[in-house]
């Protein structure tokens, strides 16, 4: 498998991140793990943005991934991390395959609102399900990996290494997807759906594949979040959570596969310090941050890199 320059840079950055986690304090490891899990969900949002669709309901698949992991441990006694994540992704893919049949009929605000509606339906169901802990949710069982259980205190670091590795593989795959026939066809649909149809392609089929793939990626993030936090609750499907993913997507921009990862880390740091600084109005700082990004970097944080590259070329 030949790797291009971007993929090699992604590998190098992942190695640095893993090394940083190795020597960094535990709070930083936890913060980065959560940020990377969220970044996976944001990748799902960005995949759809590249096709011209904005989803306000990606929390649906984030929640499905998390709950599938939690419930598999709770009710089926499955603790293997790999199996749990596969179940989480599998359930989300099945759900997306059903919902996608309807979702891909809609565009623009109708798609956004419908995605939000499905997410809120799940929220409503979970809130009313006492067997699943209602609004409190429930704790996720401790995970194992191929029969091995991490010793006390080891778990977060090992999970961090696993999520860094998974994020790297995902980033490489998404980078390839972005330049593949399907990825480019998504951009073409965003630009001119009528033309795509008259080239003999089905825009709906392309969007359906993209929707299902985005659901799988987001569910993986949900699964990691559940394993990392050790707890799941209906808030995962709440509209504010979905809005947060859109926020991070806008923060990073859609131009590069690394942008959601960078944005998720920046978001986590800004939020942590905002809560520290003004505990009762930290959302205001996030609001100003987004405002500044929209005004000064309309194409997101990634444009800082592309701007520098352009200046260097000139």
């Amino acid at each position: 498998m030949r790797m291009d320059k971007t993929e090699l840079i992604l590998l190098a950055v992942a190695a640095l991140l893993a090394a940083g986690g190795w020597i960094g304090p535990q709070w930083l490891v936890f913060l980065l793990t959560m940020a990377l899990a969220k970044a996976m969900v944001v990748q799902g949002v960005v995949m759809q943005m590249r096709a011209g669709l904005v989803t306000f309901g990606q929390g649906l698949f984030f929640c499905v991934g998390g709950y599938a992991v939690g419930m598999s441990g709770h009710f089926l006694n499955i603790t293997d991390l790999a199996v749990l994540l596969v179940i989480g992704v599998g359930v989300a893919v099945l759900l997306a395959m059903i919902l996608g049949l309807l979702m891909t009929r809609y565009r623009e605000i109708f798609f956004a609102m419908l995605s939000l509606a499905f997410s809120m339906i799940l929220y409503g169901v979970l809130v009313k399900s006492s067997a699943l802990g209602s609004t409190d949710g429930f704790n996720v069982k401790a995970w194992t990996l191929f029969g091995w259980s991490p010793a006390a205190g080891q778990g977060p670091l090992v999970l961090f290494m696993i999520i860094v590795a998974s994020s790297t593989v995902l980033a490489v795959l998404l980078h390839r997807y972005g330049h593949s026939n399907a990825g480019m066809m998504c951009e073409a649909i965003r630009e001119n759906e009528v033309r795509v149809e008259y080239l003999g392609q089905s825009p709906r089929w392309v969007l359906y594949m993209n929707y299902v793939a985005a659901a799988a990626v987001s569910a993986l993030g949900g699964g990691f979040m559940a394993l990392s936090a050790g707890h799941i609750d209906p808030e995962m499907a709440y509209w504010i959570t979905s809005g947060e993913f859109v926020f991070i997507a806008l923060l990073g921009g859609t131009a590069h596969v690394a942008a959601p990862f960078i944005a998720a880390i920046v978001f986590a740091v800004v939020r942590t310090y905002a809560i520290e600084l003004v505990p009762h109005s930290w959302q205001m700082i996030l609001g100003f941050t987004l405002l500044a990004i929209i005004v000064f970097l309309p194409k997101g944080l990634w444009s800082l890199f592309t701007g520098n590259a352009r200046r260097a070329k000139a």
Partner: protein
């Protein structure tokens, strides 16, 4: 001669407005047919019905002796009938090369691969070849928004031609193009389609362009085919002159002002 496209009793109504009324047309393989008519005569409605964008209210459309009524535009495209548009339909934020690569990839398979790179050597070679055929290789890496209107029209037609269609429908290929550029543009288009041995049907308002390139004319008026035949016969037809080209009226006006 073998018939490639036939419409039988084709009608289209939009509420109380009749956009096409009993249109019966036979196009033979290899013909270059010009469709003329004033604005609202039903030319684009005819093209839109034939290419699956609009569903006819009544009537039949046969392409290679098979009914294509109810088929989607993509199914009709894949069966061998491509089209270009009055306003070039391109992917604005992409380069000329990427526009063509998307067209090449779309022509290869109806199911785009998830991880196979679009920029393969063979696809790039195909796109480059078509750029050379149309005489626009210098625009290869330019964003389509930055290329002149005439070039955009050529890219639009090139994208339609990339799937090797049997028949090409061009909706006003010279609209929005300056008078000086029209002939050069149409010379290029007609040379390329002749090399590809494609049957062509094109809508055009400029009678000089029509006279120069077509072997047959369909004149539309008020949703109906007013005349169908060789260019010199159709353009000499009194009704066509009165309702389509305006030649008779203009002639009358000139005579009246001369008398005054």
């Amino acid at each position: 001669m073998t018939c490639i496209l036939e419409t039988q009793g084709l009608c289209k109504e939009f509420g109380a407005v009749t956009a096409a009324k009993d249109v019966n047309v036979r196009i033979n393989k290899g013909e270059v047919v010009g469709v003329i008519g004033s604005n609202g005569a039903g030319k684009t409605t005819f093209i839109n019905m034939v290419t699956g964008y609009l569903k006819p209210s009544r009537g039949e459309i046969l392409f290679n002796n098979q009914s294509i009524i109810g088929r989607t535009p993509r199914a009709i495209t894949r069966s061998g009938m491509a089209r270009s548009f009055q306003v070039a339909q391109l992917f604005a934020q992409l380069s000329v090369l990427d526009n063509l690569l998307i067209a090449v990839a779309a022509a290869e398979s109806p199911f785009p691969a998830l991880l196979v790179p679009m920029r393969s050597a063979s696809r790039i070679a195909r796109a480059d070849a078509i750029l050379v055929e149309f005489g626009i290789p210098q625009w290869r890496d330019t964003l389509v928004t930055a290329v002149p209107q005439g070039v955009r029209k050529l890219i639009d037609i090139a994208m339609a031609l990339i799937g090797d269609p049997q028949m090409l429908l061009l909706d006003e290929p010279t609209s929005g193009v300056s008078a000086e550029e029209k002939t050069a543009l149409m010379d290029t288009v007609m040379r390329v389609v002749a090399e590809h041995q494609v049957t062509v049907l094109f809508v055009e308002h400029d009678m000089d362009v029509v006279r120069r390139y077509v072997s047959r004319i369909l004149a539309f008026y008020s949703g109906e085919v007013l005349a169908d035949g060789a260019p010199k016969d159709v353009l000499a037809n009194a009704q066509v002159q009165e309702f389509v080209t305006g030649g008779a009226k203009a002639h009358d006006k000139t005579q009246r002002s001369a008398v005054k």
